[in-house]
């Protein structure tokens, strides 16, 4: 196993969807030391899987860098990336993603055979890993004959086939009951003992206690209670920009604002014009998403800014 730390610096991923530019990752930085288990924590849609894809060399980020030991992952291309995935990375996919026509043993061995190992070596390694994950007796069963927890353990064993220094696990406890989830958590815990780095994406808080480090994909302070206050903007001022973290909900006391969607080509699309007694910016803070549009003052405006909880209680429930 090649040991070296993982360093992610100022990572940005931007892609275009339906004509709009979306930035699931915007300037993310963190590091992982050998033997550490890092949990990427955040709600669905916050960019956890995108980050894992970047770490695994499946997705090329828009900017920023990823270094694993001596490997500059962000500058790798084609066959270099294939080799990187083959040698340095182990994947555990959400929903197990085992090949349904292959037995548990074959699911572990076939990827090894297809990446150049001899059948003998591959199947010996599969047997060893099945033993390690406690499924030695289930090796000849098809995935359809295994429980969710057993399938996930086979998926972990597959990820460990070539003994990678970095294991990436996407929602490994999703779809599992608490007993099966506990077994997977215990297994992941044990895998870092020999210096392996493990990066787990999850929104399952059960994984937090075993983490050596937690990367909050959504800033943890964004839902912090802030007092209700009035703010003023002059005509042409930006109240917030598309992609900004969402923290407050605004009610217009006076003046008008435009709600604008910024397009991938740099152009803008006017979504709405709002006036006094209308509110905006509520969905982002409620759902934990970044702002999905920009809002600009078209005249001098006075706004009342609420925290999501206060807005829900004082404005929504009042109506």
């Amino acid at each position: 196993m090649t040991i070296g730390s993982l360093k992610v610096s100022d990572l940005v991923v931007e892609f275009v969807h339906d004509g709009y530019a979306i930035r699931p990752l915007d300037g993310l930085s963190f590091g992982v030391e050998p033997g550490e288990l890092v949990v990427l924590l955040g709600p669905s849609g916050c960019g956890k899987t995108t980050l894992l894809s970047c770490l695994g060399g499946i997705l090329t980020p828009t900017s920023g860098s990823i270094r694993l030991g001596d490997h500059d992952v962000t500058n790798m291309k084609g066959k270099q990336l294939d080799a990187y995935r083959r040698e340095e990375i182990g994947f555990v996919f959400q929903a197990f993603n085992l090949i349904p026509s292959l037995t548990a043993r074959e699911n572990i061995a076939v990827p090894l055979v297809l990446t150049g190992h001899s059948r003998k070596v591959a199947f010996a390694r599969a047997d060893e890993l099945l033993q390690e994950v406690g499924l030695a007796e289930r090796g000849n069963h098809l995935p359809s004959k295994l429980s969710g927890g057993q399938m996930q353990r086979v998926a972990v064993a597959r990820g460990l086939g070539h003994n990678p220094p970095l294991l990436l696990a996407d929602e490994p406890t999703a779809n599992l009951d608490h007993i099966q989830a506990e077994a997977i958590i215990r297994l992941l815990q044990s895998l870092r003992d020999d210096g392996r780095m493990i990066v787990v994406s999850t929104h399952d808080a059960r994984l937090v206690p075993i983490a050596d480090r937690i990367v909050h994909m959504v800033p943890p302070d964004q839902h912090e209670e802030r007092p209700t206050h009035d703010v003023s903007y002059s005509a042409g001022d930006s109240i917030f920009e598309q992609g900004d973290p969402a923290d407050l909900v605004y009610m217009i006391k006076s003046g008008n604002v435009d709600v604008i969607r910024v397009l991938a080509d740099g152009g803008e699309e006017l979504l709405n014009t709002l006036g006094p007694d209308q509110y905006f910016g509520e969905l982002g803070p409620f759902l934990g998403f970044p702002r999905s549009a920009s809002v600009r003052a078209t005249s001098d405006v006075v706004l009342t800014a609420y925290s999501p909880r206060v807005f829900r209680e004082k404005v929504l429930h009042k109506n």
């Binding site: 894992l52 040698e87 959400q94 026509s101 990827p111 055979v113």
Partner: protein
């Protein structure tokens, strides 16, 4: 790669069996169509060969003995300068063994001369009232039959003596044929020559056996072209069947391919697996078709002779076709994105 391919074939066995059977039916029809065209081509060659002639002398302007009416005076035999020569009568007539009359080609010959039948059962006609017929005429030695309305006795049977897609030849002595065809013994249809042929007098021309074969095939050209067209259509149907199943397989396995790509498997390995699957389906279908055609061919009203070459050409073409038809599915593999492996449960 082999393991992945075989396991998938087993996992989706019902689909692959259905496709293999469908493909086998199509390939069996291809075998039969190939046999039919082959028989069309073999038939006149076999028949003409049994006449034993090196040259066929006919009146000038007559295209061939089996496809046009040929009449020449019997005295013309003396004008033909050849060591071995025999007059023959060749004409269309009918044969009936009590049921509906069947169309036949009468061949009048001189016993012991060129054009005499090579019987496989019984003997050749030697005198008046005797005939030998091709086995496809469905008569037996000893049967009393009517030829051109006149009574005859079947004394022998011949094989591979048909023309124009299955019309059987019926042999009788020259005088009997002359009387049936022309009601006189003073005319014949052709003079068969073995060995060297000297210059012919004006009004006579000669054809080689190959010329006779070519001319006899001419009326069947339309039929052969039609069968060839059907064969081309059957290849297209086979390609659609194999292509569709390979595409469906690629579609079903898209997530599997994404996972394998994500763990570093090369496109070549995955393409190889899918290509091997296409080839195995095609070869399985051809193997089954080779058995089906044994039972299918006799059901055809026309003789079918599948050439030996078809048993290696057809599988070879099927493999090429399967790879071409599977290309769309393989394209799917090339395009499958390893990041799809991260997608949630389908």
């Amino acid at each position: 790669m082999l393991l992945l391919t075989f396991r998938d074939l087993v996992y989706r066995k019902t689909r692959f069996m259905v496709v293999t059977i469908l493909g086998a039916v199509v390939f069996a029809l291809l075998f039969v169509m190939t046999g039919l065209v082959n028989q069309f081509n073999l038939e006149p060659a076999d028949t003409v060969d049994q006449f034993g002639a090196d040259e066929w002398v006919l009146p000038e302007g007559v295209s061939a003995p089996f496809t046009s009416v040929s009449v020449m005076p019997v005295a013309a035999v003396d004008d033909v300068d050849a060591e071995t020569k025999s007059p023959v009568v060749i004409t269309r007539s009918s044969l009936s063994d009590g049921g509906a009359p069947e169309e036949v080609v009468l061949v009048g010959f001189e016993p012991g001369g060129l054009g005499a039948p090579q019987v496989v059962e019984g003997r050749a006609p030697e005198g008046p009232g005797e005939v030998a017929a091709d086995v496809t005429a469905d008569v037996e030695v000893g049967d009393e039959v009517a030829v051109g309305g006149e009574p005859f006795t079947v004394v022998g049977l011949t094989e591979n003596t048909t023309v124009l897609a299955g019309i059987p030849l019926t042999y009788l002595t020259l005088p009997d044929a002359q009387m049936l065809a022309f009601t006189t013994t003073q005319v014949i249809s052709s003079v068969l020559v073995a060995g060297d042929l000297g210059p012919l007098p004006p009004g006579l021309a000669s054809l080689t056996p190959d010329d006779v074969v070519d001319q006899t095939l001419q009326p069947l050209e339309g039929a052969i072209a039609s069968v060839d067209l059907v064969r081309a259509l059957l290849w297209i149907v086979a390609a659609i069947i194999v292509g569709a199943v390979v595409y469906l397989s690629a579609l079903d396995r898209q997530r599997d391919f994404a996972v394998l790509k994500a763990v570093g498997t090369s496109n070549a390995s995955l393409l190889g697996s899918l290509a091997l699957q296409a080839v195995l389906i095609a070869l399985g279908a051809v193997a089954l078709a080779a058995v089906i055609q044994i039972f299918l061919a006799p059901q055809f009203p026309l003789p079918v002779t599948v050439p030996n070459s078809a048993f290696w050409q057809l599988p070879l073409l099927a493999v090429i076709m399967a790879l071409a038809a599977g290309a769309i599915g393989m394209r799917k593999v090339l395009r499958s994105d390893p990041s799809e492996a991260f997608a949630g449960a389908a």
